[in-house]
């Protein structure tokens, strides 16, 4: 269980930190898309008898870059691009899984997560990769913040927007695959999205928002793992339900006036002096 908690905390941090940028760039379902693509990657690994996590990394990164290309093309809208990538990955996975003899325990552990059964090697791997992701995000946070705020302004400010976008997609893909062991493919976007939308309701600046989001995410993971262990529940589901409860709690606190509401001028996008 110690291993589960340590790996869980690492995953909670990278999902919510990366999630801040994903949610703000309207890439909320991007994580979901990549997760489904990595299901295809896992099934390739299982089918060929290679470690599925590595094939998942390769396929997720390729899928993420492909998705980015699709999004940039003017012919397909962003959400449609996610839908196309998502079902393609899933379809490949389903074909390969049935070709290799149907659903096994392995497949279920990737779909729904199996944090309590995590090995020492996997824990070490998750911690190593998470440290790399956190370091990259800390180094590039100013650049990503500007890119997220307004891409064209970032370009004018002298940032290499296309390189940053590629780094961003690769980081997102690696985050998703690393987190798969915890909540599973089907619930991964919960950890990316929920703590962040809750944190943004506090109306704070960037650093504080990231801090609140990480705290909520870590709290959900720790409490979720402990509860599921002692009450014999599915850890992934428990973690997500706790995160959702935190979100609902924040919403309630906000409407009760406990958190200062931000005075948002327009419901959709603000365009200054138009």
């Amino acid at each position: 269980m110690q291993k589960a908690l340590i790996a869980g905390i690492a995953v909670a941090i990278i999902c919510s930190f990366m999630g801040t940028f994903l949610v703000l760039r309207r890439y909320s379902l991007f994580g979901d898309g990549i997760a489904h693509v990595s299901f295809g990657g896992i099934s390739i690994g299982l089918f060929l008898g290679i470690a599925p996590l590595w094939t998942a990394f390769v396929v997720a990164i390729l899928g993420g870059l492909g998705l980015q290309k699709l999004r940039q093309s003017t012919k397909i809208s962003g959400d449609a691009a996610v839908a196309v990538t998502l079902v393609s990955g899933l379809a490949i996975g389903v074909i390969l899984v049935s070709a290799s003899g149907g659903f096994s325990v392995d497949i279920f552990s990737f779909l729904f997560g199996s944090i309590l059964l995590i090995s020492f090697e996997d824990t070490a791997l998750i911690i190593g990769i998470s440290a790399g992701i956190i370091a990259t995000l800390v180094i590039l946070q100013k650049q990503f913040l500007h890119l997220t705020f307004n891409e064209e302004q970032a370009k004018i400010a002298g940032l290499n927007v296309s390189v940053l976008n590629y780094i961003f997609v690769v980081l997102a893909a690696v985050t998703v695959v690393t987190s798969m062991r915890l909540v599973g493919i089907l619930l991964i976007s919960a950890l990316i999205v929920i703590p962040n939308i809750a944190a943004m309701m506090f109306g704070k600046g960037f650093k504080k928002t990231v801090g609140i989001s990480i705290s909520m995410s870590v709290f959900s993971v720790i409490v979720g793992i402990l509860l599921s262990y002692y009450l014999n529940l599915a850890p992934s589901g428990t973690i997500v339900i706790i995160a959702v409860s935190l979100l609902l709690g924040t919403l309630a606190a906000r409407s009760a006036g406990l958190i200062s509401k931000t005075d948002i001028k327009t419901p959709s996008k603000i365009s200054h002096n138009s």
Partner: protein, 265 residues
């Protein structure tokens, strides 16, 4: 010394000329007001200067062109007509202003290149090492120091404009380009905005290119005026422009039409 030289600049979209063979210079310390009706190509002209549009012709900054021009591009401050962002974006006013320093390395490289060529421009924050201090000073210049920790989505349109000016100011811009920044702001914030422009041009000696429909403001603050509608019809001192009744009449009318058009939509 000419800070900006534009020569025979043409930009076309789908075989339509948006900017047609425009030539003009901007001297250091100038406040050039650019007037022209909607769709006259002002924004396109700015985007070409900023390296966002491909063009035919020649643009020089401090005499630099091509790859050296690219190196000093990050020293141009730009406040566009619209900046779109998520209304509940978790960034404070200082967070946004600090974005002006995001490519510090490029800014330093650009400064070095210009210094080596023996040119200089007025750099008010040159001796300030601390970025936080620069941000506070820039916000002070635009009169928004008190909103430093406020979330960006809570600001009014007029305040936002000034935040984006501060974001340009923190990096000690060589040139500040303002694209029609006042169209719908109320009179009070308009006055504040004009005072900021006047202050940074007159006191801080920052060179400004400003596209505006407000002839009255230009007559007060601009040092030179350019009139364009795809091509350049006039470029000269403010005095010369305002002494030509026909020119003033033509552009007042186009500004009026523009104004009414805005109210229609």
């Amino acid at each position: 010394m000419n800070i900006l030289q534009v020569k025979d600049l043409s930009v076309s979209y789908h075989n339509n000329l948006a900017v047609d063979k425009i030539s003009f210079d901007v001297e250091q310390g100038d406040l050039l007001g650019i007037i022209g009706p909607n769709g006259a190509g002002k924004t396109t002209l700015f985007r070409a200067i900023l390296g966002l549009e491909s063009y035919i012709g020649n643009i020089k900054l401090f005499g630099f062109e091509d790859s050296n021009y690219q190196k000093i591009l990050s020293l141009i401050g730009y406040v566009p007509q619209k900046v779109e962002f998520e209304p509940n974006f978790p960034a404070t006013v200082s967070d946004v202003v600090s974005m002006g320093l995001v490519s510090e390395k490029k800014i330093k490289e650009g400064e070095k290149l210009i210094e080596q060529s023996g040119c200089s421009w007025n750099r008010i924050y040159k001796d300030i090492k601390n970025n936080g201090e620069k941000i506070t000073l820039a916000l002070g210049t635009v009169g928004l120091e008190h909103l430093k920790d406020r979330r960006i989505g809570e600001l009014s349109g007029g305040e936002l404009q000034r935040v984006f000016i501060a974001k340009s100011l923190v990096k000690d811009p060589l040139l500040l380009i303002l694209d029609e920044p006042v169209t719908s702001a109320d009179v009070e914030s308009q006055t504040k905005f004009y005072n900021v422009i006047k202050k940074i041009n007159e006191e801080n000696k920052i060179t400004i290119v400003w596209s505006s429909h407000d002839l009255e403001a230009l007559s007060k603050y601009a040092t030179r005026v350019a009139c364009m509608n795809r091509t350049l019809f006039f470029h000269g001192t403010k005095e010369k422009f305002f002494s030509d009744e026909n020119l003033v009449k033509t552009y007042t009318e186009s500004a009026m039409q523009m104004h009414m058009h805005h109210h229609d939509v």
